[in-house]
């Protein structure tokens, strides 16, 4: 039995049954990290000693009945913009290179209380700004399917870690597709929950009205189990919601006959690669096979989505990132003359180019004289997008579409043309603007051997519908072997 090939839920069952210990699972993960991560660079921080001590504690806790949850004992990776007490949290930025929080994010408290073992912190685009994990100040993460390619971003480290067998599941964050797009590139499953489902306390904010933490895993069932754990109505986050109907795992494997699926015509028109279009059509065929009704419709407003998203996200980011100033924590320039110069140098030296670009963009759209023309207008577009989705969800249970216009691009080709990179977010950002849940499930593998996932969008609070459909797709699609497992099988 190869431990690493187990899904998180399978592993937890075996741990519960006493067939495996958490320590064994953690050791297997650490060994895989030691073996693969020099190449993949999924992790920024792994403290083996601490992790092993924690695994022993968890094993004791499972024996004593302290940890009884469905993922107790399972090793998990956490994106490095989610605060972990006494563990470095850098947001892949030089400005927070040595920042060690003295508090846990609520999502981290939840997984810890559920008896999961945090292996370490994963690489990402700096402050989650980017679509390739190349804007990280510390490392470029490689796509485990083909190390010439990016893993996507910004949760590239988390998705790559799952795909490389370097953890059993991971937490990511999604502001404009940062879970769903790299999940597609890395052939893993990931979900951005409805805004307000997972507490943002301890998630270092990029764009507060769009950010959500979500699970990344090997399959829909793992994501459902993990989402069940991290969902909470948290008094530390005023935007978190009290939700009912959060038994997400119960949705796995249910019948989808009669389910209505809509595919926006605009999603399949110009601008996406044939292999992606083929994957969406393939997925539509899978769903039909299971008895769902699939039709095409006009969603509208596509051309306004990207501009509205980048105006709002950059505006909020420009303000959220003001606190990184060299005064209280984080990087401070070595030499400076006076306060103003200290700010200027610390921030100039501490932030990378993509972050600076968005801070400038955001400062511009909020400045007096431009606020109405850009920011307010973007808010109006946001309201219209929400309305368009409301109308669509009056007719359909699920909207099906691509997660990205292409499979994973090769490393070094995206950052030179930021505009093109921004435009590639076309299928993911609308979901954040409207606060909806969106799930990426692997669907096919293209000619180059790269995975392609499709995206399922649901109405607010309809994650269960997404999990049901995703598990149906998994059933028809058949087994999905991640690259590390393939290599192991081959060798």
């Amino acid at each position: 039995m190869k431990i690493l090939e187990l899904s998180a839920t399978e592993l937890a069952k075996k741990i519960k049954a006493g067939e495996i210990t958490s320590e064994e699972a953690v050791k297997a993960s650490l060994a895989q990290i030691a073996k693969e991560d020099q190449k993949i660079r999924a992790y920024l921080t792994v403290d083996e000693e601490k992790v092993l001590a924690r695994a022993k504690e968890v094993d004791d806790g499972i024996r004593s009945g302290k940890y009884t949850g469905p993922l107790a004992g399972v090793p998990i990776a956490v994106k490095d913009n989610i605060c972990t007490k006494d563990m470095r949290t850098t947001c892949a930025s030089k400005i927070l290179e040595n920042f060690v929080p003295f508090y846990d994010a609520t999502a981290v408290t939840r997984i810890t209380d559920a008896g999961m073992v945090i292996l370490g912190k994963t690489n990402m685009d700096e402050f989650a700004m980017g679509s390739t994990t190349e804007t990280s100040a510390f490392a470029v993460t490689k796509n485990p399917w083909d190390t010439e390619h990016v893993p996507g971003g910004s949760s590239g480290g988390s998705c790559a870690a799952v795909a490389a067998g370097e953890c059993f599941a991971a937490l990511g964050s999604d502001t404009g597709g940062s879970i769903r797009q790299p999940s597609s590139y890395c052939g893993v499953t990931g979900i951005k929950p409805t805004y307000g489902t997972v507490s943002r306390f301890g998630l270092v904010a990029y764009a507060s009205s769009l950010d959500q933490i979500g699970p990344i895993g090997k399959n829909a069932a793992d994501c459902a189990a993990l989402l069940e754990i991290i969902t909470s109505h948290d008094e530390k986050d005023s935007t978190s919601m009290e939700r009912k109907d959060t038994d997400f795992t119960s949705a796995i494997g249910k019948d989808i006959r009669g389910m209505k699926i809509g595919i926006p015509k605009e999603y399949l028109s110009d601008g996406l690669d044939d292999d992606v279009r083929a994957a969406v059509e393939q997925c539509a065929a899978y769903l039909k096979e299971c008895g769902a009704e699939v039709e095409y419709f006009d969603l509208g407003l596509m051309e306004y989505t990207i501009p509205a998203y980048y105006v709002i996200a950059a505006a909020e980011a420009s303000s959220n990132l003001e606190r990184f100033d060299g005064v209280k924590y984080g990087y401070r320039a070595k030499e400076y003359e006076g306060l103003h110069d200290m700010y200027k140098r610390s921030r100039s030296e501490g932030f990378g180019p993509e972050v600076k670009r968005r801070i400038m963009l955001g400062s511009f759209v909020l400045s007096s004289g431009y606020y109405d023309a850009y920011y307010l207008k973007a808010l109006k577009v946001r309201a219209l997008i929400k309305k368009a989705f409301d109308e669509a969800f009056a007719k359909y249970d699920i909207i099906l579409g691509p997660a990205a216009p292409t499979a994973a691009p090769t490393i070094g080709t995206s950052l030179s043309d930021p505009m093109k990179m921004y435009l590639s977010d076309i299928y993911t950002v609308a979901v954040n603007l409207a606060g909806l849940p969106g799930l990426t499930v692997p669907c096919s593998i293209n000619e180059k051997g790269l995975p392609i996932g499709v995206q399922l969008l649901g109405d607010c609070f309809r994650e269960k519908t997404l999990f049901t459909a995703a598990s149906a797709i998994e059933n028809v699609r058949g087994g999905w072997t991640l690259p590390f497992a393939r290599k192991e099988t081959l060798s």
């Binding site: 927070l96 994010a105 003001e322 606190r323």
Partner: protein, 489 residues
């Protein structure tokens, strides 16, 4: 209207009118900060009342303290404001180390209260000062310069302490009106229990916007804003000084520059801090971490129903219900603590007029002497009522009462017990009194002769002698009666 006449030589030049609007920050008396659970206590060791939220740590989020909204509503309703039942917080972005997030959470687009007013009694009758708006916001930390290491340190204890900013319309025309307006705000906030409003301690801060214009001009002149005004005296002086400075500029044919000026209390003058050209662009936008606040009709109604009686109404009631003079009623209601003590003393059984006399007389005299204030009074209403009763029942005389009160003021002794313990009761033994009076009359034949001739003034002298002999424990009216009786015999 306050106008002044500028003279150059013997020529009367122009008449100017001063136009003043105020921005008043009031620190709310909540137990905890506006967006976290840290205490708001004043004077703690630096950075001991802090947490990830009020120090702007990564990933922290603000949680609104509902009490702040409640206090802002109380203030707004008391100042006759309209309420924005759907209101929001906005971020005001600027970099400064006392501001840990480098944005202040405030309200710009939808402040909680707007369009209210205050009524002032002026020589020309009742005058309305408009309230443009009241908004809620968080206070900043405090920068301390360390001379020893030549570096600046920051204390975030005050960071996140709740404030409301009360913005008036430019309706005031003189320093007198400004002071009256501020006193009104101060007393109102104190009665509401919303703030202690101490200028010196910074729990009330006023920025003065001032311009001058020729009398009759339909447009406002260019205004300046003055900061760092820590007392009513500073405010009055700053207004006078700024008014003169602006008139002088205009008289010289120069223009007033729109700028922020800082008042220097020691120099009694102001200097420019920054001009409009340097004005920062705060890039305000709605704070995405805080959902809009929905203020229900029921909430407003419950606050309205629970509003306490404010100074003006109380003063009127004291006059009509207790028959106090307007003067006494105003003094008693001028300080919430004093008014409360007055009412408790009545409740404890004292006659209103007697209670008023003790509080406006001896109490205020001693407070002034000790440079203290009514809120720091330590004696209880029950003890004051008991002292008044001892006097009314002629257990002690007036002088003894004053002496006992002085002790009570210091250490809150029970006056009845104290009088007993120290043997201060008046002698009720008429035999002893008669004997003493006889003795004094015998010893002062000259005075007795004068009294017989009808020179009543001398009675004071004789009474003084008797009181002295009886160690102050005699009832003065009985003494007087006895003297007259024995002299006539």
């Amino acid at each position: 209207m306050d106008t002044s006449i500028c003279q150059k030589g013997d020529l009367i030049m122009k008449q100017y009118e001063t136009v003043i609007g105020l921005e008043v920050h009031v620190e709310l008396a909540t137990k905890t900060k506006i967006f976290c659970g840290c205490k708001t206590d004043f004077g703690a060791a630096p950075n001991t009342h802090v947490c990830p939220i009020c120090t702007g740590m990564p990933g922290s989020l603000p949680i609104l303290n509902k009490q702040v909204v409640e206090f802002a509503l109380r203030a707004g309703l008391a100042l006759n404001c309209q309420i924005n039942q759907f209101c929001k917080f906005d971020r005001k972005n600027y970099f400064y180390p006392d501001n840990p997030q480098n944005y202040q959470i405030s309200q710009l687009y939808l402040p909680i209260c707007h369009d209210g007013y205050v009524e002032l009694e002026t020589a020309a009758g009742t005058k309305r000062i408009g309230i443009h708006e009241i908004h809620m916001e968080e206070d900043a930390g405090k920068l301390v310069h360390d001379e020893w290491t030549d570096s600046s340190l920051v204390d975030y204890n005050r960071s996140g302490v709740p404030l409301i900013e009360i913005v008036s319309e430019p309706d005031m025309r003189s320093a007198d009106e400004v002071i009256q307006y501020l006193e009104h705000l101060q007393s109102t906030m104190q009665y509401l229990g919303v703030s202690d409003c101490r200028l010196q301690e910074g729990s009330m801060r006023a920025d003065v916007n001032l311009s001058v214009r020729e009398v009759g001009s339909p447009v406002f002149g260019t205004r300046t804003e003055m900061k760092n005004l820590n007392s009513f005296k500073a405010i009055a002086h700053a207004i006078e000084g700024e008014r003169e400075r602006q008139i002088e500029l205009l008289e010289d044919g120069r223009a007033v520059v729109q700028e922020t000026r800082r008042w220097d209390d020691n120099k009694e003058s102001s200097h420019a801090m920054r001009s409009k050209e340097d004005a920062k662009d705060y890039r305000y936008f709605p704070d995405p971490d805080l959902p809009p606040i929905d203020i229900s009709d029921a909430w407003i109604a419950s606050i309205r129903a629970a509003q306490p009686e404010l100074k003006k109404a109380k003063s009127r009631r004291y006059q009509s219900e207790y028959g106090l003079s307007a003067y006494d009623a105003d003094i008693l209601t001028g300080d919430k603590a004093l008014a409360e003590l007055f009412e408790s003393t009545i409740k404890a059984g004292a006659a209103p007029k007697k209670a008023a006399n003790w509080l406006t007389g001896e109490t205020l005299r001693l407070l002034k002497e000790k440079e203290s204030e009514a809120s720091k009074i330590t004696f209880t209403a029950e003890h004051l009522a008991s002292l008044i009763a001892l006097l009314e029942k002629s257990v002690i005389n007036n002088q003894t009462a004053k002496d006992v009160f002085a002790v009570m003021f210091e250490t809150d002794v029970d006056p009845a017990a104290y009088v007993e313990e120290h043997g201060l009761k008046m002698e009720s033994d008429s035999g002893l009194l008669e004997e003493t009076v006889k003795k004094i009359l015998d010893a002062n034949p000259k005075a007795v002769g004068e009294l017989k001739e009808g020179k009543d003034k001398v009675i004071g002298f004789l009474m003084g002698q008797v009181m002295k002999e009886m160690k102050g424990k005699a009832n003065p009216s009985q003494v007087s009666e006895m003297i007259h009786k024995l002299v006539q015999e």
